[in-house]
């Protein structure tokens, strides 16, 4: 089964093979949704699972995501606009005063790998900018990262600003010093201690 081959090629971190196989499936008229869900997203789920279990490591997760993106880029033009491909929109960034972006980038990548549209605002993002982006892109989820205890209060301020703006978004937080207890304390809708966990969290929160 050829969709299974795409899945295997992603787990083999082989971008060229993923592209070739995706092209072949498209030409054969295979259902695009099936290629995406059963080939690509399922493969990235497996990568995430193996990462969380300590079987795969960061560089392998990066290579798998790159391989998947190669195939994904070929599917995109075949659907009417990005929305058709997307399972939801996630606005993500590192909060004000914090320049760390490596963890946040891993989360972005895994969210894209799960089929979400990701709007990455970068590091050092103030509350107002999160609110504006959430509005502008009709975000389903706003994801906040902080790697410093001194910038964790900016998470609280951002969540307060989103609630103040009465936007229909869920908020999730993460980063080395962040805990579930802190998430509860500042009324975030969710917390995860790694990137694949973040994907599961979003699925639970927005139900797709």
């Amino acid at each position: 089964m050829a969709i299974q081959d795409i899945y295997q090629a992603i787990l083999g971190f082989d971008e060229e093979k993923v592209k070739q196989l995706t092209r072949a499936e498209i030409d054969a008229g295979t259902d695009i949704d099936s290629i995406l869900n059963e080939g690509m997203i399922a493969a990235m789920d497996e990568v995430g699972k193996q990462f969380s279990e300590g079987i795969l490591f960061v560089p392998e997760m990066l290579m798998a995501a790159q391989a998947m993106k190669g195939g994904l880029a070929m599917l995109k033009p075949l659907l009417t606009g990005d929305a058709a491909l997307s399972k939801g929109t996630i606005v993500i960034g590192t909060v004000k005063g914090d320049l760390h972006d490596i963890g946040k980038n891993l989360v972005s990548m895994m969210m894209e790998g799960a089929g979400y549209t990701v709007v990455d605002l970068g590091p050092d993002v103030d509350a107002e900018k999160f609110v504006r982006a959430a509005k502008e892109h009709n975000a389903d989820v706003v994801a906040l990262s902080a790697l410093l205890t001194t910038t964790m209060p900016a998470m609280e301020a951002t969540i307060a600003a989103l609630k103040e703006a009465a936007l229909p978004v869920k908020t999730i937080i993460g980063g080395a010093p962040v805990t579930q207890a802190f998430a509860d304390q500042i009324s975030a809708d969710g917390y995860s201690d790694d990137a694949p966990g973040g994907v599961q969290l979003v699925r639970t929160l927005i139900g797709k």
Binding site: G54, F57, V58, P59, L62, G97, L99, H100, D101, I102, N105, L106, P123, D124, L148, T149, T150, M152, P153, A176, P177
Partner: protein, 265 residues
Amino acid sequence: MIIVGELINASRKAIGTAIESRDAEAIRKTASDELEAGADYIDVNAGIFVGKEPEYLTWLVQNVQESVDAPCAIDSPDPEAIQAALAVHKGVPMINSISLEKERYEKLLPVIAGTDFRVIALCMSDEGMPETTDQRMAIADKLVNGLVQNGIPLAHIYVDPLVQPVATNSRFGVEFLDAVERIMTTFEGIHTMCGLSNISYGLPARKFMNQAFMVMAVARGLDGAIINPLDARMMANIVAAEALAGRDSFCMNYLKAFRAGKFEL
């Protein structure tokens, strides 16, 4: 090599708990273990306690210095917490750290200007984290000039070129190493310093990569490190690397370490 012992850090569970329960004995014991193992400075960090950092950092400095006759590296991005800790610190402290981030720089500079404090200058600016050697040099240049103009001599400055994980970009190791060499040759008499373990983030068997990276950095001129001095293998590697880098006259430190049993691992 100037060793800053990194163990008294609130983000480590045992220390966080000790701080919360005011377990002074645990802090004192850790400090004396670090000194015994070869630390020159005892790093103190109370960063996980939002709002209480100045109070806890002060408490840490007091207890460390009741236990050992050594200076602290006062570890906080918050100038207020640093100032509180400085008020009780005895001897010449190390400040960990100033950076080119505008708010941090402007608030901390008046606190350290004209003092004989040792200062870690972290290569980070409001434009983000540097990735290349050139980006690191651009930040280092501004930081070093600013510090020197404010009465901190080159010999008291420890530039931290900022280690980024090699798992996320294959060039992050070499860009850091090149920066160490360029900083050491551009500013004669200056020091370099780093928290090194970030290099192996996202990879397994991290201690091997950390040790190899340390040896490579020493070869390029690194002369300060924030590490766990109780890691005997790391400490042994440093002694050997310094001798190999031509910084151990007649290999006397190497031989001293041998006779003290430091290579019996």
